[in-house]
């Protein structure tokens, strides 16, 4: 008897959803192993997490608030994935977006009408994010330098830059009255994002949803979106078709960086109302990669997955602070997010292949079978 893999001609839609759900279940089981190893009851922890994230009004709204940056960083990763580009630097682009947005809020917006101030803050956030990916984009487009490592390493540079501005110097961003415990200067109220009454859900949600719709339009309804797919699948063919590969690479990477920058602006103007390095460095950028991978780069899928993972992250934070949490650290949510991605990757195989168990068939027959399958064009 041998187990044998056969490529499916096409993936079925229902199948995909089922595999995704099973991946989440498998990840929870994997997480349970480590919870038991550290002396906790997985059932109690998971029940508490679910309750904290989704079973109360403020639980739901807090989860949504966490989902806002995740939608944007998820879209940032998804845009690049579409072209087989990997922007692992959304984390740093988010920080720099926050730095730019808080500068604009502090320096430009005092005395301005609220809507104008908000637009300025978001524009500067996008500029900051775009600027932070510019060098990797140029290097990738013209020199072919792998964008994976360059974008990732710039995350550390951005982190140190942000720390320098608040903790390491008396910069424009730092509150001069906070001497013992350095903090960012509060931004003026003119630049605050409106929130849904008494919750943390801010206008950034509308921006994130709008971005998802615009990207969907861009990819499925425009010439440029088509070009992007061609370049991603075959740069050679794209060149032959007269599409400028470096130009497409740079535009896509700039869009990706700008989206991550918007997430940073949203956190500054909607949540912290200052440049707060600790509040920003909570892996929004890295989680965005998981969001995009689980959503298979579909903009609307990104929204759905971001809400799910936002709930998970919110639950992790809540679990740390509530008495019933049993001292479960916030990191439990990062572990589970990673486990979900690993399991989804394994599940991908069952979407692309069919498992066939054969009994006693000679190897040669199996080989022949496959050769003809290849000839019929089942190869991707």
């Amino acid at each position: 008897m041998r187990i044998h893999l056969e490529r499916r001609l096409e993936a079925r839609r229902g199948h995909r959803a089922l595999v995704t759900v099973l991946s989440v279940v498998a990840a929870l089981l994997l997480g349970a192993v480590f919870l038991v190893l550290t002396g906790r009851s997985p059932i109690a922890v998971y029940t508490e997490m679910f309750r904290a994230a989704f079973l109360s009004f403020f639980g739901i709204t807090d989860s949504l608030a966490v989902a806002i940056p995740l939608i944007l960083t998820g879209l940032a990763a998804a845009v690049a994935f579409r072209m087989q580009l990997y922007n692992i630097g959304a984390e740093g682009q988010l920080y720099v977006g926050a730095i730019f947005a808080s500068w604009a809020a502090l320096a430009l917006t005092p005395g301005m009408p609220n809507p104008v101030a908000i637009i300025i803050v978001f524009v500067f956030g996008a500029l900051g994010g775009g600027l932070w990916i510019l060098a990797p984009a140029i290097a990738r487009a013209w020199l072919g330098t792998s964008e994976i490592i360059t974008t990732l390493l710039l995350n550390f540079v951005a982190l140190y830059l942000m720390r320098y501005l608040i903790y390491g110097s008396a910069s424009f961003w730092r509150d001069p009255t906070s001497t013992n415990f350095p903090q960012g200067k509060p931004i003026p109220e003119e630049a605050f994002l409106p929130v849904i009454t008494s919750t943390r859900v801010h206008l950034g949600l509308a921006v994130a949803l709008l971005a998802a719709v615009l990207l969907w339009v861009l990819f499925s309804r425009t010439r440029f979106g088509y070009d992007v797919r061609v370049v991603g699948d075959s740069p050679g063919a794209a060149r032959y078709a007269g599409i400028s590969v470096p130009r497409t690479v740079i535009i896509i990477m700039l869009i990706s960086g700008a989206l991550a920058g918007l997430a940073g602006a949203g956190e500054v103007a909607g949540i912290a109302h200052t440049l707060d390095p600790n509040g920003l460095a909570v892996n929004f950028g890295y989680t965005g990669i998981i969001v995009a991978a689980l959503a298979r780069s579909n903009p609307f899928g990104v929204v759905a997955v971001a809400i799910l993972l936002g709930g998970l992250q919110n639950a992790g934070t809540a679990l740390q602070s509530i008495p019933g949490g049993g001292g479960v650290p916030v990191e439990v949510s990062y572990m589970l997010q990673g486990a979900i991605l690993l399991c989804a990757l394994a599940g991908e195989l069952f979407i692309r292949y069919r498992l066939r168990v054969r009994r006693g068939l000679p190897d040669e027959l199996v080989e022949d079978d496959n050769r003809s399958a290849v000839a019929e064009g089942t190869k991707p």
């Binding site: 490529r7 480590f34 390493l153 991605l341 399958a373």
Partner: protein, 312 residues
């Protein structure tokens, strides 16, 4: 004896570069088999936290090192399973490994954050050699794991160029179809070397916590050196001895902080000094790819491509 600042700095560079040596040589072996494993940072971090927990529980550095090494190998096994058996996208799988490894390591490490390491690593002066002026202090008055890393490099270089299995490994990374036709098991070769890569990354992480940083500080314990190790593989053109040299170069950038403080220079803020290794790595990658002739030099031809036998 009072050593000059530059001697102490170079000695620190060797020590700072040692985790990179372990991780980069491991990644070279994995990539030579044709599997790209971007998960180095995750494996190092999991190796570090496991080493810390095991060392403090047992009171022995060696137990810590072994446990950390095994943890890295265990995580690499997941990548091998996903990329070889499940034929997943190796880039996404590697990233998943980083995210899961970081999450798991920080989860396991959160109760011990800031705790001191009980057993310590002490330097071992190699008799005779350690008395050579300057060079003795830089190279031969280090902890034993530094010497172990040289042995690892020598073994890896010998293995790759002078043994039958090493040749098979390279064939597997250059042309898996040919390796398969030669009767080699591509899947087995890839599994074994991805796991060896993980073991070495785990050892690198263990070294970082046992000999470099005083306590567990979450993801900041390795602070991206796993990614620097990946860049180092490209820099070294997939050759172990060059990786050793490169590791000390990057080690010097990591140790620059220490050097400038020792020299009494405080014009440059600490945060900017901390950026140095990352910026240097980016610069090196860009310069390497700028000369197109060098870009592909040494890269295994089948790197990152899943091998499906029935789709030859």
């Amino acid at each position: 004896m009072n050593d000059a600042v530059w001697v102490l700095t170079l000695a620190a560079a060797v020590s700072a570069g040692t985790p990179l040596v372990f991780a980069a040589v491991g990644e070279i072996l994995a990539e030579r088999s044709g599997v790209l494993n971007l998960g180095v940072e995750g494996m190092m971090l999991l190796g570090a936290v496991t080493a810390f927990l095991a060392a403090n529980a047992s009171g022995s550095v060696i137990v810590g090192l072994v446990a950390g090494t095994l943890a890295g190998g265990g995580l690499a096994l997941v990548h091998a399973f996903l990329s070889v058996t499940m034929r997943a996208n190796q880039i996404v799988s590697g990233l998943a490994l980083v995210i899961f490894g970081t999450g798991l390591a920080t989860f396991l490490g959160s109760p011990i954050e800031g705790d001191p390491l009980k057993p310590g690593v002490t330097n071992f002066r190699i008799p005779g050699l350690a008395d050579i002026p300057a060079i003795g202090k830089i190279l031969f008055d280090q902890d034993p794991l530094v010497y172990v890393s040289w042995v690892v490099v020598a073994l890896a270089a010998f293995y790759l160029t002078r043994t039958r299995t090493g040749l098979a490994l390279r064939a597997c990374g250059e042309s898996p179809e040919t390796a398969d036709a030669m009767g080699l098991s591509v899947a087995r070769l890839r599994y074994v070397h991805v796991v060896i890569g993980g073991l070495l990354a785990g050892a690198g992480g263990a070294y970082q916590i046992l000999a470099r940083v005083p306590s567990w500080s979450g993801a900041g314990t390795t602070a991206g050196i796993g990614w620097i190790a990946l860049a180092l593989v490209v820099f070294a053109a997939w050759r172990p001895w060059r990786a050793l040299l490169g590791a000390y170069l990057f080690g010097a950038a990591l140790a620059a902080n220490f050097a400038l403080q020792a020299a009494g220079v405080n014009v440059i803020p600490a945060e900017f000094l901390s950026m140095l290794p990352y910026l240097l790595t980016i610069l090196v990658l860009v310069v390497l790819s700028a000369s197109s002739a060098r870009r592909r030099l040494g890269a295994p031809a089948a790197l990152g491509v899943p091998y499906a036998r029935e789709e030859r």
